[in-house]
């Protein structure tokens, strides 16, 4: 985690020679939006070029010591769910189409992973506030910032329920009969936590004067600790 923290600073410093951290963040946001949209709008023949560009993002993200395991797991789960459905609905001939659909979704998510793992939520919030009302910008930035925490919560709740005997170990989940257990043992408590948390965060933000001025200022992106 410290390494990741260092990586943020390196990214800021690296870009700092030409651009401020906020400008760098704005460019990163724009690039991510373009690449994510391209994943859906480009013809299949152009997906190879998009993969090559996204690979650069992966290399950059990994260089900054961010982890991509969770995203890969989501991609693998999508593939495992989509392919059998395609097989059942359209037969073997359409399986390749199923792979391409999953690939497009994965390529749409990948720039989001890169953006959220290389840019701080407060900086994203600052950039978003250029074009959105300050409240919307905060909600989007806070939601992005919440992802790592909720991921950690999900991991911990999963581990707790495994220890309590829930049939949700990777081996048990090979059997679709156990999938509902994952939903009500892990996803339901996570959802409850998320609802509670969002309510409490809203309260915490309000108590710290959120919404008091129309144009809030922003924590400086480049500075020296005194």
């Amino acid at each position: 985690m410290l390494a990741k923290h260092g990586a943020h600073r390196r990214a800021d410093k690296h870009a700092g020679s030409l651009l401020s951290a906020t400008q760098y963040c704005a460019l990163a946001l724009l690039l991510s939006l373009v690449l994510s949209s391209s994943a859906f709008f480009l013809p299949s023949s152009a997906l190879g070029a998009l993969i090559a560009i996204d690979l650069l993002l992966v290399i950059h993200g990994l260089y900054l010591k961010n982890k991509i395991t969770a995203l890969l797991k989501v991609g693998a789960a999508q593939l495992a769910l989509t392919l059998p459905l395609y097989y059942l609905l359209h037969g073997e001939a359409q399986l390749l189409d199923g792979v391409i659909v999953v690939l497009r979704v994965f390529l749409a998510m990948l720039p989001g992973w890169w953006l959220s793992s290389t840019q701080s939520p407060e900086r994203l919030g600052e950039v978003l506030s250029w074009g959105l009302p300050a409240k919307w910008a905060f909600v989007i930035a806070a939601s992005i910032g919440l992802l790592p925490y909720m991921l950690q919560e999900t991991k911990e709740i999963y581990a707790i329920q495994c220890l309590r005997g829930a049939n949700i170990t990777p081996k048990a989940l090979r059997n679709p009969k156990n999938w509902p257990e994952l939903v009500y043992c892990v996803l339901l408590p996570v959802l409850i936590q998320l609802l509670k948390l969002s309510k409490q965060m809203a309260k915490a933000a309000k108590l710290r004067h959120f919404g008091k001025v129309n144009k809030p200022t922003h924590w400086p992106s480049s500075r020296e600790d005194k």
Binding site: M1, L2, A3, K4, H5, H8, R9, S120, P121, E122, A142, G145, P148, Y149, Q152, E153, K155, E156, I157, A159, I160, Q161, C162, L163, R164, G165, A166, N167, T169, Y184, C185, L188, P189, I192, Q193, K196, L197, K199, Q200, M201, K203, A204, A205, K206, L207, R208, H209, F210, G211, K212, V213, K215, P216, T217, H218, W219, P220, R223, D225, K226
Partner: protein, 457 residues
């Protein structure tokens, strides 16, 4: 100067439920320190939110707020208040919302950070801080906008003793500056030197609290220290930690274990250390669920710890155990693991009888008080009668009644031969433990029975 006054407040969570605040009155003036005590679920946190102006449901009664009133609130669980990823940005959040110029922010943020005794970089990720450090961070996030009324929810439970001492000093200087403080606290004695008014919230109203609570360390007077009568000492070591450098991969060490430590059948051992010492990480490592660590010479029930290999023989209660609750009823929650591990379901009902909680059997666990949820989560593990039970700060935020219930459960389990390892910031005056393991100055060692008197207050 009068900052806030509550008059004839009535508040409840539903038309079918009794009011938790019933004709409540309170006046808070500048420079006063009020401490509110009472059992969990009695409405203390709701009262704090009412004072903060953040109560989500309607209430009856009059509230006077001075024009100069500026309220800061630190909730019981600092995690739910964190809005940013780095320390500096988190503290600066209020300044941003007040439109403070960016050039002025750094100095204000650093002053607040130092005032709560946190000497860390402004770019430190919040996620690497311990719970106690996060509590102090949230204090700094309030102090930065110079509140005239500071509300604190259960600070003693979250902080280690050095943290409490630093908090005492911060609060004393705030009181000198005319800031009013209202704290909800199960252990008022820890802040006895600061408290002007001690209240007990009972039956929805504030009653003057007994001065005895300020004189004695919490729970020492509650006479719940129960001698364990029957202990099974088979001499079998169930947990063994050999000398190691405990650290996360690619990070500096958290502590060194300098001698071989063993936990025997029937023993209760308390692992004591300051916030951030590595207690929770060690417990998760023993349960086989800590990620990002190298291989350590640790053996639990004769095996190297790994998730899913111990079945019902090992139980782990993490912090905020209410996270694990998901069933429709308390009884179903207790029966969940019994079903999965094919053990007698009757144990669930017996457990509720022992805890005198049979009346809650068909209630939703989500509607219980914090203390009740905590007890049910622990009871669901105790039902399994594991051979090793690991508990992360199991008494945090519990009132005397629920501490008593938890102690009873642990003693019963220990009598059956279960080895229990629990973590705490400090000595446990209300639970007779066999030994303490101490994490101090970067070393984990067996502290035998003698531990430095650590309780503040």
């Amino acid at each position: 100067m009068k900052l806030i006054a509550l008059e004839g407040i009535h508040f409840g969570y539903g038309s079918n439920q009794s009011e938790i605040l019933d004709d409540l009155n309170l006046v808070v003036n500048s420079g006063e320190c009020h401490c509110i005590n009472g059992p969990t679920g009695c409405g203390k946190s709701s009262l704090l939110h009412l004072l903060a102006g953040g109560l989500s449901r309607p209430y009856e009664g009059d509230v006077y707020r001075s024009p100069s009133l500026l309220v800061g609130l630190v909730m019981q669980d600092p995690n739910v208040q964190i809005l940013r990823q780095t320390v500096g940005a988190e503290i600066a959040f209020a300044l941003e919302n007040l439109g403070v110029d960016a050039d002025l922010m750094i100095e204000k943020v650093q002053q607040s950070l130092r005032r709560v005794g946190l000497y860390i970089s402004l770019d430190t990720p919040v996620e690497i801080l311990s719970l106690g450090q996060k509590y102090r961070l949230m204090m700094a996030a309030q102090l930065v906008f110079k509140p005239t009324l500071l509300l604190l929810d259960e600070p003693w439970a979250q902080l280690d003793d050095s943290g409490v001492r630093e908090l005492q000093s911060v609060l004393a200087s705030l009181l000198d500056d005319g800031v009013a403080i209202v704290m909800v606290e199960h252990n008022p004695s820890a802040f006895a030197s600061l408290v002007n008014y001690l209240w007990r919230l009972e039956e929805g109203a504030l009653k003057v609290g007994s001065d005895e609570l300020l004189k004695t360390v919490v729970d020492k007077q509650s006479l719940i220290k129960i001698k364990r009568e029957t202990r099974i000492h088979s001499g079998e070591s169930l947990v063994t930690i050999q000398p190691l450098h405990f650290r996360f991969i690619e990070q500096e060490r958290l502590f060194d274990c300098v001698e071989t430590l063993s936990l025997y059948s029937g023993e209760i051992v308390a692992l004591v250390g300051d916030n951030g010492a590595g207690k929770s990480s060690l417990l998760k490592t023993l349960a086989g669920i800590q990620a990002n660590i190298p291989s350590f010479p640790i053996s639990v029930l004769g095996k190297r710890p790994k998730l899913g290999i111990y079945g019902a023989e090992l139980g782990l209660l993490m912090q905020r155990p209410n996270r694990q609750l998901f069933e429709q009823s308390v009884l179903a929650e207790l029966q969940f693991s019994l079903k999965r591990f094919k053990q007698p379901l009757s144990r669930a009902e017996q457990m509720l009888q022992k805890l005198e909680m049979t009346h809650l059997a068909h209630c939703s666990p989500h509607k219980l008080s914090y203390g009740q949820q905590h007890t049910i989560a622990l009871a669901s593990l105790v039902c399994l009668q594991p051979r090793v039970l690991l508990l992360d700060d199991p008494f945090a935020g519990l009132d005397r009644q629920h501490v008593h219930k938890v102690v009873q459960l642990l003693q019963q389990l220990s009598a059956l031969g279960c080895a229990i390892l629990l973590t705490s910031h400090r000595e446990l005056p209300f639970l007779e433990v066999d030994r303490y393991w101490l994490i101090d100055s970067g070393q984990l060692r067996d502290g035998a029975r003698v531990i430095e008197q650590a309780n503040v207050g």
